[in-house]
Symmetry: C2
Subunit: 315 residues, 2 copies
Amino acid sequence: MQSLDTLASPPEAVSLVGVDWGTTQRRVYALSSGGALLRQQADADGALACKNRFAESLGAALLALQAHPTTVVLSGMVGSALGWVPVPYLDDHVALRDLPAHLHAVPRAVGQPPALIVPGYCLRDAHGQPDVMRGEETQLLGALLLGHGDGWFVLPGTHSKWVQLHAGRVVALRTYMTGELFDLLGRHGTLAAAAGTEAAPWDDGAFQDGLESAQHGALGQQLFGVRARVVCGDMPAAHARAYLSGLLIGAELHDVLRHSNGAAGAQSICLIGTPALAQHYLAAAAPLQMRFEVLDAQRAYVRALAHFQTSLGTP
Amino acid sequence: MQSLDTLASPPEAVSLVGVDWGTTQRRVYALSSGGALLRQQADADGALACKNRFAESLGAALLALQAHPTTVVLSGMVGSALGWVPVPYLDDHVALRDLPAHLHAVPRAVGQPPALIVPGYCLRDAHGQPDVMRGEETQLLGALLLGHGDGWFVLPGTHSKWVQLHAGRVVALRTYMTGELFDLLGRHGTLAAAAGTEAAPWDDGAFQDGLESAQHGALGQQLFGVRARVVCGDMPAAHARAYLSGLLIGAELHDVLRHSNGAAGAQSICLIGTPALAQHYLAAAAPLQMRFEVLDAQRAYVRALAHFQTSLGTP
């Protein structure tokens, strides 16, 4: 009689683990030697929560996924001054496909798999102003490998990143604090008071009104309109959050169109994100004649991990 | 022998008390029958703190000032939905000098001096968007009576109000959340983290850099530059607050110039505020060829109170 052990096919061995290690959240992906996603988990062990215990936290994540990888690749805020090891930014000379040659090895205890941090990018605009990203470069690499070439990309979120790729290089980067402003203004101060505390259903009309208002003035002035519309009876308090969202996303899209001289509107833009994040950008795009093509962020990330795996010769 | 009581001249009787009753702060002014300021006090019994006890709080303030006025005039958030009695906004048909005919009497207990609330204004822009003020109308009336006629006025603060007066009427109103954004972003989130927690001396150069950056893009994008400049080593963390201030005030001034078609730059602007508040606007004005004439907010307020006193025939 065969034992049950031999009847059940053994779990495929994990070759590489990738960690998308953000400020407050973390996603861990376990890949087979062929680059297929075997298992994943998400938790709240972000860089802030892991201060001084990154090695322990990584060990716990590997244990939870029953993963004994040959290599671990880390990206995101784990490489910032608030992270495990501060990794210097790359500049626009380094092509995305060449990222495997620029990984930063973290000192590890004997017997631990090597952990390699993907560096972020720092770019400067025509006025010499810097802008930075950490983590998004890995998703952009994945997008590139999945056939998304030259053009504009947006990675919405707490900090919405607009990136222009040309010949495999990052040539422009603009970060908008859209998500963070929505969160801060929804929780503190005058606009939070105007919106009230009751959970209200999302109102699409109010979102479109916010989009419309965004084109009429600077954000610092249009924001007060959230309160003015409520106290003047133009809008119920329950619509304030949707209106604020439309205002912030509208301000972002108008500025992108202005600063790309319309280029970001003339061609389809690759939006790398979750379906939930993409939804509001898609609703905002239509009246502005912008077109988004949505690429699942996780699919892009796993594709990039497979590129690291191949480039590093990970068994 | 004369008693000491008759040797000391008796305190001049208080005729009118005016209260500039804001959201979190309150200033109480006691005027003589000739409209001279006799005494004043400031405290933290703002509208939020006074919920359901406005009458008691006013009584305590009168007692503290040893004032037994014939009339009390209240302005500011005391007339809002969060205040003592919600007083409807006026529209631009009502001239500032006619405000005494639009005061709203608060029901009072027998024996208490009448309390009259000054209504605020609601104006709409060319797109039909509303904007509102409460409290500023009283200072604007005072400015008008002190000889500041047609033109632009700015009342900086938590919500910076830009007002255009023409023939004694408010014809344009734009509110910028400059002060509130500075406060929120300095206390919460990414920019607060970039600025660090150490109390740092103000840096004028960083303030000017912020002003300069404000012209290069939308606020939602330039704000992230505060962090980018710190992490890229362009700016020490200790300069982040001054840079942020320059960015916010610069965005405000650029938008005002744009929306007034330069009119707000061609002529002198009357800034109604405290010297401390005026300081940063004056520093921001020079590179933009804007000129501010500073009018002390308290002086304007007291002048308006004297107008109410005369118009009401207060003994």
